[in-house]
């Protein structure tokens, strides 16, 4: 039974069968809401699916002087770790299966960003190297707040088990932690105003510049899966504990959609800011959230 449940979680919900269409849906919601806010009609509902299939059917032109194996490895590594992160999300009330823990989930969530950095440096283009350097700096900036917030939530409960963290009762600590996580999401998903690594018109497509065809399709899918994983993590933390599994699933999807809409609105309303301003924003302005969450976690632990 355990193996069946684990497989069902990995392949059906919240795993691949749910995650891939959800990734396309979130990508569409992002583009459509930006279009509506600019007074346009925007792309049709199936657009990310069309893009994905079209990219699968394209050739990969020769790239002389670049290690082909490495270039092919990074998108595959990124897409599989993003899919693994989605499958680990503690959406449903626990029925056994492979539980995983927070450290693994955070590691898998961080992998796509590492792969983007590595891919940019392997492609040996000046634009992708600039993009990779920016991604590295960005990752160092937001991860301080992101990791401190989520680890403080876990530490206040003396556990790294995912289902225990998902079923936390509402508290000021949890609320602060969720706010801190949401502040980090635009940088994690490369959205405006922190769309520095893949800045269009500025460094072309950044680390992705040498990718074409199926490999680019994998990067697009990775971006969508990152949407599902990152918004899903916040949604599972924010959702109240429910024992009915279908209600838990519906609530998870609804909360994720709400966060996607919030982030797209922010992306449409803002313009890209420079890298030094971004670093200053995360190190100076948002660190206060991390400090607050951390101190309240220490307070909770001393009291209990």
């Amino acid at each position: 039974m355990n193996l069946v449940t684990a497989l069902a979680r990995l392949l059906i919900f919240p795993g691949l069968l749910f995650a891939v269409p959800a990734a396309w849906f979130f990508l569409w919601v992002e583009r459509k809401s930006v279009a509506l806010m600019q007074g346009r009609i925007g792309p049709p509902f199936m657009q990310p699916f069309y893009d994905f299939i079209k990219l699968l059917g394209k050739d990969t032109p020769p790239r002389p002087g670049i290690a082909g194996g490495l270039m092919r490895l990074w998108p595959l590594l990124a897409v599989s770790s993003a899919a693994g992160a989605v499958a680990l999300l503690p959406v449903l009330p626990s029925y056994g299966g492979f539980p995983g823990d927070l450290i693994l989930l955070l590691g898998l969530l961080e992998m796509p960003s590492m792969c983007i950095i590595a891919a940019g440096f392997s492609s040996r283009s000046i634009f992708s190297e600039i993009g990779s350097a920016r991604e590295a700096v960005l990752s160092v900036s937001y991860n301080i707040v992101f990791l401190l917030a989520i680890l403080s939530i876990a530490a206040s409960q003396h556990t790294f088990r995912l289902d225990a963290i998902a079923h936390l009762p509402a508290s000021p600590l949890l609320g602060l932690g969720i706010v801190a996580l949401v502040v980090c999401l635009p940088a994690k998903l490369h959205l405006n105003p922190f769309s520095l690594p893949n800045a269009e018109q500025e460094i072309y497509s950044g680390p992705m510049i040498e990718y074409a065809g199926p490999e680019l399709a994998m990067w697009e899918l990775t971006h969508g899966l990152e949407w599902v994983a990152a918004t899903g993590l916040v949604a599972t933390l924010a959702a109240p504990h429910l024992t009915i599994w279908w209600l838990a699933a519906v609530l998870f999807v609804a909360l994720s959609c709400a966060i996607v809409l919030l982030l797209s609105t922010l992306a449409a309303a803002t313009a890209r800011i420079a890298i030094d301003t971004t670093v200053r924003f995360y190190w100076q302005c948002t660190l206060i959230f991390a400090v607050l969450v951390l101190s309240s976690a220490i307070f909770v632990r001393f009291r209990s």
Partner: protein
């Protein structure tokens, strides 16, 4: 297999990604191409996306009468666009070299260097004519997916101004 081919045709028609290249244009056509993707004309309804890298593109949009300097660059960029691909010549310059004909600094028209699929004449063409040209090029791409024919066989289409 047949189903996959039909799906591929639809996807290629519905998702044309552009790479814009200026081969010595006066900037008139470039402004009109940018206007075609602004909210007023909203080419994103057709799935059009302007890409920064030629490796991501399906359709190469070339403006300008092809100067001697640009001729080599056009061939390089055409080689970097992964197949199946289409070329749209925007404006009268790439089609005929326009008023610059017989200039010693030119190496045009565009057809001397790369096979052109759609000509959008005009000096400059209107944004809606450009969108029509891109839609036509996307249809050509889809037909190519159905037949898997090489790029040079089909005769070039023309958008009426």
């Amino acid at each position: 297999m047949k189903l996959w081919n039909r799906l591929m045709c639809t996807c290629r028609r519905r998702s044309p990604w552009l790479f814009h290249m200026n081969s010595g244009s006066c900037n008139g056509c470039d402004i009109e191409l940018v206007a075609a993707i602004t909210p007023r004309y909203d080419a994103e309804q057709l799935g059009v996306r302007l890409e920064g890298s030629p490796r991501h593109a399906d359709i190469l949009c070339i403006t300008g009468p092809v100067t001697r300097n640009a001729a080599g660059a056009i061939e390089t960029v055409y080689g970097q666009v992964p197949g199946p691909k289409a070329v749209v010549a925007i404006g009268s310059c790439p089609a005929t070299t326009n008023v610059f004909i017989d200039s010693r600094t030119l190496d045009g028209p565009l057809e001397k260097h790369v096979p052109v699929d759609v000509f959008v004449p005009g000096c400059p063409p209107r944004p809606d004519a450009i969108i029509q040209g891109i839609a036509k090029a996307a249809t050509i791409l889809a037909e190519r997916a159905a037949k898997s024919a090489p790029a040079t066989e089909a005769p070039a289409a023309e958008v009426q101004p």
